[in-house]
């Protein structure tokens, strides 16, 4: 389905190359059009920024974007999630989403 934007961590990215994903993460380092983020499982991912987008470095963000390769996501939009987010909970939830018992039945 084209409307799908599956929630992923860095370990799941290689399975989604060419697809749209949602990546909850914490911004680590920003350059002009690239930001390095830490995904829910602790892995680092490069995010190609939209032009003129504002990233609040102290806030967790959810990047909706297209997976370019196993470690790069091209941002389509971004949602600020605020300064408090339990990343372990997020990662546990992501792993459950990808659990074969639930994935095709509830999340695709």
């Amino acid at each position: 389905m084209s409307d799908l934007s599956t929630r992923v961590n860095s370990a799941r990215l290689p399975d989604y190359v060419g697809k749209t994903v949602r990546l909850a993460c914490k911004p680590l380092q920003r350059s002009a059009d690239l930001v390095t983020v830490q995904a829910a499982d602790g892995g680092e991912v490069m995010v190609q920024l939209l032009r003129d987008v504002d990233i609040d470095a102290s806030s967790y963000i959810e990047v909706v974007g297209k997976v370019m390769d196993a470690t790069t996501v091209k941002m389509m939009s971004v949602i600020h999630l605020g300064p408090d987010l339990d990343m372990k909970l997020v990662n546990d939830t992501i792993e459950l989403i990808h659990d074969p018992r639930f994935y095709t039945r509830m999340f695709t």
């Binding site: 934007s5 339990d86 997020v90």
Partner: protein, 264 residues
């Protein structure tokens, strides 16, 4: 029943399919009513996969009837029209429209719905409807989900309930077919709610035994519990289990230290 119409129907007079039917006392009204008054957390993908036997039938997900539904997702677009407001909601598993019928005479309404903005996460509660070939949620309530954990809570809750519907249906079947069931001990098939299924077997037995007894303020004596659970002569084991249940607040002692009752 009219009061439910007011609450769930919103301003537009769109009654939820289930309520009028169960109110009129259809033969299978008992179950229908229960389902149509329930509120189930779901993903959009589940809503898009829901099926309906015919146009007036109840919606079902995995063959379980759904009544009210609740989803958490991101508002993609908002189209405000004179009589209703259409929100496209994307929760990552799919997209669905949520329609809210506007009551322009009510100021309270505009205050309640005014805070919804595009790209924000919201929780939508309502009933599943179709218009032509398109599915939408007839929303009775939409509010911003300001805490990001609500989204993850919702996903986990949807998974939990899906599992519960799977497993609960089998336990419901065994409860209704109690006589024919393979269980030999009567307390095992008592109507103890599934909320206790996470407890160790002995604690479950104790809860199920107490709940199967006639209600009294005095509660149940520990010797009856020991007899029923087959732990006579092992006082330590049973007092251990009772202590744990008391720690969890599920059971309390009544007139003295050897009488117990359920907290709920």
């Amino acid at each position: 029943m009219s009061q439910y119409g007011d609450i769930y129907g919103g301003g537009g007079g769109f009654l939820q399919g289930g309520s009028p039917y169960s109110a009129s006392g259809s033969p299978s009204g008992g179950r229908n009513k229960e389902a149509s008054h329930s509120l189930r957390p779901l993903t959009v993908a589940q809503l898009l996969k829901a099926t309906q036997a015919h146009a007036d039938a109840e919606w079902t997900v995995d063959e379980a009837e759904i009544g009210q539904v609740t989803i958490v997702g991101q508002v993609v677009t908002i189209q405000s029209q004179t009589t209703n407001c259409v929100y496209w909601i994307d929760d990552g598993t799919g997209r669905i429209e949520a329609r809210h019928w506007v009551d322009s005479t009510s100021e309270e309404d505009s205050a309640k719905w005014g805070g919804i903005e595009e790209t924000k996460y919201v929780r939508v509660t309502g009933t599943l409807k179709t218009f032509g070939n398109k599915r939408y949620i007839n929303a009775t309530h939409i509010r911003g989900a300001t805490d990001p954990h609500e989204l993850y809570f919702h996903i986990l809750e949807a998974i939990t309930i899906t599992l519960m519907v799977d497993r609960g249906s089998s336990s419901a079947a065994s409860a209704s077919g109690a006589a024919a069931s393979a269980y030999t001990s009567p307390q095992a098939v008592s109507s103890a709610p599934d909320e206790y299924s996470h407890l160790p077997p002995l604690q479950q037995k104790i809860i199920r035994f107490i709940s199967a007894q006639p209600r009294s303020d005095e509660g149940v004596h520990v010797s009856s519990i020991a007899r029923a659970t087959g732990t006579q002569g092992d006082a330590e084991k049973i007092s251990d289990a009772l202590d744990k249940l008391m720690d969890e607040g599920l059971v309390y002692s009544t007139i003295d230290d050897s009488h117990f009752n359920l907290s709920t």
